[in-house]
């Protein structure tokens, strides 16, 4: 299945990412999938403990293959029922043994709007300019290794 996700920003930016996807489901259904910790975990691939609440941190182990060593933390910032959900986290905080807690976080926002045929979900992650350049370069290297591993998995799977 393909997704109608695209960058909707006009000019290139190093600070933010914006994605928009149209889901064929009611706004309340999509809202539940995003703001119920258990349902969020099912599609995001993380085993979250506890529920989301403004000002509360929810943690959990990532279940995405290759990232099972990572514990993810989401500090929920704002919940406006069926319209807006936001949290802060450390982007790409996947290097074992690194304490990211003193580093700046990025803000992730989900914005829901009713649209023809379903619900438009806009996902914005911003604040990357505050992330140290060295950390960004490191994430890039990690990803290179990650992809090498994925290609090996694929080769094993098809042979």
């Amino acid at each position: 299945m393909t997704v109608n996700a695209q960058e909707t920003q006009d000019r290139p930016s190093t600070d933010r990412i914006e994605k928009k996807v149209v889901v064929r489901a009611s706004r309340s259904r999509v809202w539940r999938a995003i703001t119920t910790a258990e349902e969020f975990g099912a599609w995001f691939r993380v085993n979250l403990e506890g529920e989301f609440a403004e000002g509360r941190t929810t943690r959990g182990r990532i279940t995405h293959p290759g990232y099972e060593h990572v514990t993810m933390e989401m500090l929920v910032e704002r919940i406006e029922p069926e319209r807006y959900f936001s949290y802060r986290w450390h982007p790409y905080a996947i290097v074992p043994g690194v304490d990211y807690s003193a580093e700046p976080t990025t803000l992730v926002e989900f914005i829901l709007e009713e649209t023809e045929g379903g619900t438009a979900v806009t996902i914005v992650e911003s604040g990357f300019d505050r992330i140290p350049l060295a950390r960004r370069a490191e994430a890039f290297r990690m990803n290179d290794q990650g992809w090498a591993g994925q290609i090996k998995n694929l080769a094993r799977y098809v042979s």
């Binding site: 997704v3 064929r24 992650e125």
Partner: protein, 115 residues
């Protein structure tokens, strides 16, 4: 010439927000100069700024420490230029996180639609 200037301008657009994080107007204008003019000597960077050569030098080294600019010898003088490779890396980092969001959005869509 005009082509490389165009490329530098695009990188400036991407980079301005990075630089803004540094929160210093003098450094920001230095980076803008380097983006538009390409490699420039300290003497030329100092001209007409009302800032001392020593201050400009200090700012350039601060930017160099952040990996945003570098200096090279050109003929008899030393010139400063943007380190586009570092900026490019910052952009690729974002592309990679954007790709992860594409996949996550795809899974969200399947999760809600396939029930």
């Amino acid at each position: 010439m005009s082509r490389s200037r165009g490329a530098a301008a695009v990188n400036l657009t991407e980079a301005v927000t990075v630089f803004a994080a540094l929160g210093d107007p003098t450094r920001l204008s230095l980076l803008r100069r380097l983006s538009v003019d390409g490699p420039v000597s300290i003497t030329r960077l100092t001209e007409g700024t009302g800032v001392t050569r020593q201050a400009i030098t200090r700012h350039l080294y601060a930017l160099g420490d952040a990996g945003l600019v570098r200096n090279a010898r050109r003929g008899r003088e030393r010139v400063w230029e943007l380190d586009l490779k570092r900026l490019e890396k910052a952009k690729r980092y974002l592309d990679q996180i954007a790709a992860q969001w594409d996949e996550a959005a795809d899974r969200l869509k399947s999760f809600v639609e396939d029930e």
